[in-house]
Amino acid sequence: MEVKEEQVGGVTVLQVKGRLDSATSPMLGERLTAVLEAAKARVLVDFSQLEYISSAGFRILLQAAKRAEQNTAKLVLCGVSGKVRQLFDLGGFLDLFSITATREEGVAAAQ
């Protein structure tokens, strides 16, 4: 898994590529914790290059969403499609996160 970080219009965009599972989730978890620490953090996680996500990945996303809520930060996800969307749906996670179709919409939603 690779995580690429960019700043777009005041939003920290994390592009996640590859597989999010028990081996790679801790790395994304650390990045999310770091970016969500900033006051009024605005974070978009782009999953359009993600192959799949296991429950270990959802565990760190839940932690990040709870942290964002506590810190009144914004956490938005985009590019949730195909296999990844199926797993979000299966776990009942689609309603739990703010999800947009495209990166542009995601940046706008996070701003």
């Binding site: 599972d21 028990s22 081996a23 296991s54 270990a56 296999k83 776990g91 009942g92 996670f93 739990l96």
Partner: protein
């Protein structure tokens, strides 16, 4: 190559060898990416479960994973000598709870049961044997 067997120790760092083995078999048989993803997720969940809950004494144990391609089916057999544990008996998680009450426990096995075409558990002597089957047609 129709099957591949990998023996790993009960540590997360070892999972990579099982994943690579599955990738190799999948490439050789041109198995669809979605089918491979389903099996990778299922193996990640099952192996994590064994490592986290199968052993309580902190010791080093072996987990055996055999992958096979049969007629229109990808099959994984996972064997461990940890505590008896039947993943089919774990209740489905509450997938409607709000964020504050949402727990990840049970989600992994919920994935396994739903992504696989067939899951069979047997306790054989002092070993758990779990057979996961995924149809090759999406």
């Amino acid at each position: 190559m129709n099957d591949a067997e990998t023996t790993i120790l009960n540590r997360r760092e070892e999972f990579a060898r099982v994943k690579e083995s599955l990738d190799g078999l999948a490439a050789a048989h041109r198995i669809a990416a979605g089918v491979v993803a389903d099996m990778q997720v299922a193996l990640d969940e099952i192996l994590t479960n064994i490592v986290d809950y199968g052993y309580t004494d902190g010791g080093e144990y072996e987990i055996r994973v055999r992958l096979r391609v049969l007629d229109n089916t990808l099959e994984a057999t996972i064997e461990d000598d940890g505590q008896p544990f039947n993943p089919l008996e774990v209740p489905a998680p509450d997938t409607h709870a709000p964020l504050g009450e949402r727990r990840i426990g049970g989600v992994g096995l919920h994935f396994v049961r739903n992504l696989m075409t067939d899951v069979r558990y047997d306790r054989v002597g002092d070993r758990n044997r779990l057979v996961l089957r995924r149809q090759l047609t999406a």
